[in-house]
């Protein structure tokens, strides 16, 4: 059985198995095991892809190139660490009566199904299937967000569901429109939705239709990326769901949506031959950056805080992909990686912090370093990393992004810098008092599992200091795929 | 080069003459106030008496208090010995140009003020505070006038400046006039003379210099007093060197030296006469009018600078 099928099928099977497992402990183990298998397989997959460049699987329904294979590996990795983290975390939740066995079953199986949706989306070669899988992942996470059954969580899930449902519907409409024009080129079969073929024929597609389609796709997938002004669902969904879910939402789901957007942008560019689509993405990116940066200053809930930071970073990536030069795409891909790592790491820490202090209110969280150095430093260092300070990878990618911007649109640099500064202030003003100072009296000791956090931060650190050759190679190829221009200058 | 002994002799002369000069000022003022002043040598007698007396120290005086008089004295004398009085070109004048000279005096002032703070009386602190404040305000004005003077000679090296003045034909230079005015005002402030400070007062609230040395006695007091007298003479000599160096000799020949000596003494006493007149006819300023006095000095010096560029450069 090929590594690809293992990668894809393990979560699916895992999902159905876990739906049947009663005992939460065993379920957690299976969860981890499935994560590990998936990751291993995805690594094998990555290696094989690295050898042959790109490969089609299952009769052209799936295909892998440098762009998505590393995203697959990343997804599998974060999924694995999240599974590892969620074990003790969820046990604590059960112990404190926020969860029961039945919902744990739902949780585990949905978690795996979500993974399946993600991997399916990344590997699908058919933009229709891509849409379906994104919808699948969304539906799975909707159930996860409402897991606690608290009024707030249900309301959040509802908001998430309705807004994303609407968004996704628009995306579908965009897809239909693409089909509308492509069917006249590639006939009425699946070919008309197969990305690789579309890419080859993209110049033949009707520019006007493609532009309209892109408008719908932009708003539709943009909603799921969490771009302002369609981002309203994101803070609630992150804030109310269980922490592992927040971690994968921020770390993975947004990536998938952005991935879809970029894939389709490539088609649109091919059709229109202008970079209007790029400019649209850039403006959405900047808008989100600013909205998020300023919103950061007014948060009360720690998880909402970091979800706004996710919006900010998604804005950055969208902006970078919008620029569309090789360097920019490279930066965006790098940023995608480090953001997933660091942000999910932060969410792990935040979850533990909230458990330790018994609240998600930032006013209630104090003196983490004194109370539990692991959590405190984890949070502080994580924040420093996400705020774009070296030697962490976020700094590297933002550095590259800035230079790319300077090459392409020098003056937007100023906006970018302003946004980054405001955002960094907003994060720090809240994190500092939480990490520092004397802990609150009613803080409880928690069994924490900081290993995933440290692993993530270390990886981000490594990416900040030097990018291993194969990874750089991937980014390079991927960037080359996104823009068929060679890496010049540097 | 036999000028090193000459140099030392000249320095000695200045140091020994200083008390007499102070005595001269005192007696002239006495005359102007229709009193029989003490003789010219009265300061010398005072010093001799103080040197003989035993020192009484406050209980909590630290080594700073005992160390300060020597620093003040030596720094002042060192400065004095760098100033050409008779000879234009003296080896030691290379040691310190005008700026370094001024900062030697600043070193003396620094320790004087520290000594004032050492005992921990209100007086000492008050004196130190005021002294440092005023000197700080005097500094820019002083530097500015030095700047003006250096414009002609392109140098702050006293010897060069003197030579420049000697070699250029006597002509009225407004910039120099401004600089002189500023210099005189600063000299008054630096030496704690009326209208800035009254060296003879012991009225608590008006003392500046006296307040700092209030606790001194015996040889320490003597050194302090002597240092301030030397400083007075030093400034007089400095002004002479910068503005009216005529009569100074380049090489050591007996006749020339004698002439130079006479010229120098006359000029010194001339200046001091002017000083005593000023001190008699001027009233002491209120404390917070002093800053205005000094800033006026600065403005004058700056005008000197401007007038140099406006009137003299292209001329």
């Amino acid at each position: 059985m090929s590594p690809f099928l293992v990668t894809l099928m393990t979560p699916l099977i895992g999902g159905f198995v876990l739906a049947a497992v009663e005992d939460a402990r065993i379920a957690a183990r299976i969860n981890v095991a499935s994560g590990v298998i998936t990751f291993g397989a995805s690594l094998a997959l990555a290696v094989s892809v690295a050898q042959v460049g790109s490969l089609n699987a299952v009769g052209g329904w799936f295909f892998l190139d440098a762009f998505n294979v590393f995203l697959v590996a990343l997804t599998a990795f974060v999924g694995m660490t999240t599974a590892i983290f969620s074990g003790p975390y969820m046990r604590h939740e059960i112990a404190h009566g926020r969860m029961d066995a039945r919902r744990m079953r739902l949780y585990h199986s949905m978690f795996q199904l979500f993974q399946f949706g993600m991997l399916l989306g990344f590997t699908a070669n058919n933009i229709g299937v891509l849409w379906v899988s994104l919808e699948l992942a969304t539906l799975a996470t909707v159930l996860l967000v409402s897991l606690y059954r608290t009024p707030a969580s249900i309301a959040a899930a509802w908001k998430y569901f309705v807004l994303c449902g609407m968004g996704i519907a628009l995306a579908l409409f965009g897809t239909v429109m693409i089909f509308f024009t492509s069917s006249s080129v590639l006939g009425h079969g699946n070919e008309a939705l197969t990305w690789t073929l579309l890419m080859d024929e993209s110049s033949k597609l009707d520019p006007v239709v493609m532009m309209i389609a892109f408008c719908f796709l932009m708003v539709g997938y943009g909603t799921k990326v969490g771009l302002a002004p369609m981002h309203a669902w994101l803070p609630d969904a992150h804030g109310e769901g269980p922490t592992p879910v927040s971690a994968v939402l921020s770390g993975l789901l947004l990536n998938l949506a952005l991935y879809a957007l970029v894939r389709l942008k490539m088609l649109v560019d091919g059709a229109t031959g202008t970079d209007t689509a790029g400019h649209i993405m850039m403006s959405f990116g900047l808008l989100s950056l600013f909205v998020a940066a300023f919103s950061l200053h007014k948060q009360r809930d720690i998880k909402r805080l970091f979800s706004f930071s996710s919006i900010e970073h998604m804005g950055l990536m969208t902006f970078a992909f919008g620029i569309g030069t090789h360097l920019a795409s490279f930066a965006a891909l790098l940023h995608m990686t480090v953001h997933s790592l660091v942000k999910s790491g932060i969410f792990f820490t935040v979850g533990h912090a909230a458990q330790a202090m018994g609240t998600q209110k930032m006013t209630g969280i104090r003196g983490l370093i004194r109370h539990h150095p692991g959590i405190g430093w984890g949070l502080l260092v994580g924040t420093v990393a996400i705020a774009g300070f070296p030697p962490f990878g976020v700094f590297t990618s933002e550095f590259l992004l800035l230079t790319a911007t300077l090459d392409a649109h020098a003056w937007t640099c100023i906006l970018l810098l302003l946004g980054l500064l405001v955002a960094m202030t907003g994060l720090l003003r809240f994190v500092q008092p939480m990490a520092f100072g004397e802990p609150a009296s009613d803080a409880v000791a928690v069994r924490v599992n900081m290993l995933p956090v440290y692993v993530h931060l270390l990886l981000a650190l490594m990416l900040g200091l030097f990018i291993p050759g194969f990874l750089a190679g991937w980014y390079d190829q991927a960037a080359a795929l996104i823009v068929s221009a060679p890496l010049e200058g540097l | 080069m036999s000028s090193l002994p000459l140099q030392i002799a000249q320095a000695l002369l200045l140091v020994l003459l200083a008390p007499v000069a102070a005595g001269f000022v005192a007696s002239v003022k006495a005359r102007l106030q229709n009193r029989h002043g003490p003789g010219l040598l009265q300061p010398w007698r005072n010093l001799a008496k103080l040197f003989a007396k035993q020192v009484v120290l406050a209980e909590n005086a630290s080594w700073i208090f005992r160390f300060a008089p020597y620093v003040v004295f030596t720094a002042t004398v060192m400065a004095a010995s760098c100033v050409p009085a008779l000879l234009v070109d003296t080896p030691l004048s290379l040691t310190a140009d005008v700026i370094a000279l001024v900062s030697l005096l600043a070193l003396a002032r620094f320790f004087l003020a520290l000594a004032g703070m050492d005992i921990g009386t209100a007086f000492g602190g008050m004196g130190a505070s005021r002294e440092m404040t005023f000197s700080a305000l005097a500094e820019p004005a002083l530097l500015m006038s030095v700047f003006v003077l250096s414009l002609g000679a392109h140098s702050t090296n006293l010897t060069t400046m003197i030579q420049h003045t000697l070699n250029t034909p006597i002509m009225l230079q407004p910039s120099l006039a401004f600089a002189l005015a500023a210099m005189l005002m600063i000299a008054l402030a630096e030496n704690g003379r009326i209208p800035v400070d009254n060296p003879t007062t012991h009225l608590e609230l008006t003392m500046v210099h006296e307040a700092m040395i209030l606790e001194y006695s015996g040889r320490h007091l003597a050194l302090m007093e002597w240092a301030s007298m030397i400083k007075l003479t030093l400034f007089a000599t400095l002004i002479i060197d910068l503005f009216m160096p005529w009569g100074m000799v380049a090489g050591p020949d007996a006749a020339g030296l004698l002439l130079a000596l006479v010229a120098w003494v006359l000029k010194i006493f001339g200046l001091l006469l002017a000083l005593s007149l000023a001190e008699t006819y001027l009233a002491k300023l209120r404390l917070f009018e002093v800053p205005e006095f000094l800033s006026m000095a600065f403005v004058i010096a700056f005008l000197g600078l401007l007038s140099h560029y406006m009137l003299e450069v292209n001329a």
């Binding site: 058919n126 229709g128 299937v129 849409w131 379906v132 919808e135 699948l136 539906l139 909707v142 159930l143 409402s146 059954r149 009024p151 707030a152 249900i154 309301a155 959040a156 899930a157 509802w158 908001k159 569901f161 309705v162 449902g165 609407m166 519907a169 628009l170 579908l172 409409f173 239909v176 429109m177 089909f179 509308f180 024009t181 069917s183 006249s184 009425h188 079969g189 699946n190 008309a192 939705l193 009707d206 006007v208 239709v209 309209i212 609630d236 804030g239 109310e240 009360r300 809930d301 909402r304 209110k361 006013t363 | -």
Partner: protein, 225 residues
Amino acid sequence: MNTALIQQIIDGLAALMLLVSFSLLAQHRMLSVLHWFAVQGWLLAITSAFVAYGTGHHELYVSAAMTLLLKGLLLPWLLWRVIKRLHVHREVEPLVNLTLTMLIALGITLFSFHIIQPIEKISQLLTRDSMAIATACVLLGMLMMITRRKAITQVVGFLAVENALFFAAIGSTNGMPLVVEIGIAFDVLIAALIFGLFFFQIRTTFDSLEVDAMHASLVEREEEE
């Protein structure tokens, strides 16, 4: 029948589709909303059947059948049960009064015609004209979601959008590939189920289906100190 006739029939159906979307917006009573929604489902089924017949894409018959079952019968029935079980108030409570909604709806329709009109010429399909209608229907569905207060009306709006999409797929592109169709249908089904699930949760937690009630809970959850 000749293609011209089918062409006219399909255009007629498209017109009906638009009409239904408007009447969905215009309803006062919950049940009639459901009725019109069911009608929309039937329309879709019929359209796809005709298209299948007209174009000879026989897999479209399958999707016609699916549509009939899912959107013509199952979903309306589900929603109907929900209303019965939860004793939802019979009135539709609009945020914006109906006349204004209608005006906006007209404007939107014009707008979508303006947008789509230039691109319809590029397609040789006998059903190309319906693209504009489909766009209009999508936007009208969204309008419905925005202007109705009840959660359940939002759902109907959502499903109406889905229908419009489907109509676009059938009408203007002679149907998406079957795999995609099935996938989409599958998702819609799940979505509907989840909606149903939600209604009970919302009902039990908020004892009303007012969206604002939920929002209030979120805000106060955030404000609470």
